[in-house]
Symmetry: C2
């Protein structure tokens, strides 16, 4: 039996496995530290489309097709797709995954959506609801600036606490424990081959955490309390400490949010400084790429997970990772009406086996 743990966590008896993943990223990401790890990049960030929104949809579709292709799985074999993005009414996902014709659940968890999608894909797989589940999220710098800030043509200045939305999409193919790559597949281990050693051992479902901050240009500060809440809850629910994880990896807190997270977690009696990594701080080079607080967006954690984190778990460099994408829950309307920006974070326990 799968087990509920504490008040917010689940541990799977037969832990589902991630058998493949794919990352599609934009031109700025292709100049960053992870450049060589992405499966696909594009130099004009339009991915063959006429608009940023359609470009983002194309990225999602490509990421899904690549993840499926690596595992030699046909879209018809996928039972459910869990997907989301940052745009209003999730149109990047609706238009992106439409061609795959997979039964789908549309999600919105801001930048935490990759965690939300992986949690639901793992929960559905562990419950026996189908052989293959696909989780996919995306963000695009152009569409996100238009959605949340100003059109790119305005060339608005941004505060140093602001993030740079990652142009990217990550897709993950989840399957039941015991599912291996098909016959004739090359031995796994590389970024462009299927995986055999990564399992989703459990999840910690996040709550909305609101410290009352209202500065949507400082999302790191808005999201740090939610990251702390989910990390500490994971420790308590699973009777663990930071020592039980090789890495504790947040989605896009950035430089500002990371320092707040360290302080908040220390206030609860834990010290995660030596084991913490933030995808938003890894994906860009802050000194040369002028990305201020770091990368952000649904795509930030997703492409970093697909291209950098999962291969390390597959190889056994990291044996257990707590992956915690974080989201800032707001819209331009809620911001203009003076509402605060609460956060949410979902924790995914990834293990080498």
């Amino acid at each position: 039996m799968n087990q509920t743990k504490g008040s917010q966590s689940l541990v799977f008896e037969e832990a589902p496995v991630i058998i493949s993943a794919a990352s599609v990223a934009g031109s700025k990401e292709a100049e960053g530290p992870l450049a060589k790890l992405f499966d696909m990049t594009n130099q004009d960030d339009l991915f063959g489309a006429q608009t940023w929104e359609e470009a983002e949809s194309n990225m999602q579709k490509e990421a899904c097709v690549l993840a499926l292709g690596k595992a030699h799985v046909d879209p018809k074999e996928v039972r459910c797709l869990f997907g989301g993005d940052l745009l209003r009414q999730g149109v990047a996902t609706s238009m992106g995954v439409e061609a795959l014709q997979i039964p789908m659940f549309g999600l919105y968890g801001a930048c935490s959506t990759s965690g939300e999608a992986l949690a639901l894909a793992a929960m559905s797989t562990a419950a026996g609801y189908g052989k293959y589940m696909l989780a996919v999220t995306s963000s695009h710098f152009g569409s996100a600036e238009k959605e949340f800030r100003f059109p790119l043509g305005y060339a608005s200045q941004r505060p140093l606490s602001a993030h740079w939305t990652v142009t990217g999409s990550g897709a993950f193919l989840v399957a039941p424990n015991g599912t291996h790559m098909r016959e004739g597949q090359p031995e796994a281990g590389g970024a462009n081959e299927g995986w055999r050693h990564i399992r989703i051992a459990g999840v910690t479902v996040g709550k909305i955490v609101d410290y009352g901050l209202k500065d949507s240009q400082n999302m790191g500060a808005c999201m740090a309390p939610a990251a702390m809440d989910t990390i500490v809850q994971n420790f308590r629910d699973m009777d663990r400490t930071e020592a039980d994880y090789d890495r504790i990896i947040t989605g896009d807190l950035g430089y500002v949010g990371q320092s707040i997270l360290f302080d908040l977690v220390r206030g609860k009696g834990y010290d995660i400084r030596k084991r913490h990594m933030d995808c938003g701080m890894v994906i860009f080079d802050q000194e040369t790429q002028d990305t201020h607080a770091g990368g952000s967006g649904c795509g930030c954690a997703a492409v970093t997970l697909a291209s950098f984190i999962l291969p390390k778990i597959e190889k056994g460099d990291w044996r257990r990772v707590l992956f915690v994408p974080t989201g800032a829950l707001m819209s331009t309307v809620s911001f203009n009406e003076g509402a605060s920006v609460p956060g949410i974070a979902h924790g995914i326990v990834l293990e080498h086996f």
Copy 2:
């Protein structure tokens, strides 16, 4: 074991039960045919708030609190909340359910979201992931007009094919088979008491269906193909016909969408005319309320289910119902960029037991 059926459906061996639900609705709904069935209505549609968005959040919170209160369940006992609305970045839900502090999954499925939320709540319950799950959705005429059309102050004219967004929120408390009302509760059966005879026997997860229509003022036509697809898929997956259901109930196809649905379904060899009901056609009186094609919105199907449909199933008037909320997947940006408006519909099999 729970069973996958056909290509898109699940049947639960131990079917979860809906032990309570609540409906909160606005002033126009309180003048309609279902007026006396709602748990709470409000005469100025602001629900104590200063903005339409906050009003919608307050409706969601009240619906959740009422559903929990009827079943004498504390929010702390609820393992997961599945919720969504129509607004950009789902802020009505984020701000609405924040105070409950329940681990949450934010969803977006346009007006199909009540089906999506009930499907995931039932799937999680049937998998043993917790005792109580809460599903909640909402829509608000004022916030939806601002989001998708024009601010109310413009007094824009609307085509006859347009829907009237329902101001309302419905919340549903899902629990494992065998969960009964607590000791000391009155015998169930009325709208203001808990239920003991409603189970979610199975679900059919919808795919995105796109016939290429681009008129967002005629959502009934955009959504009818998705409703057909899910209804016919449910028949095939579960080896059933329309004769196996007392009612087949769509969310908000309205008068235009219904006639298209009948034609499309007939083209597949089924005739659902005698058993079909549409929440958008039931919630308003077309002749006296000037609501054109009918009601719509995440709240339309949700409040009709909570106030009208579930009590009939509880009493045994209807023994088996296929509840199929339908969503039109678009945003003002995708519309302005010339994208089509695909639809999605999720099927929930509700049974009296």
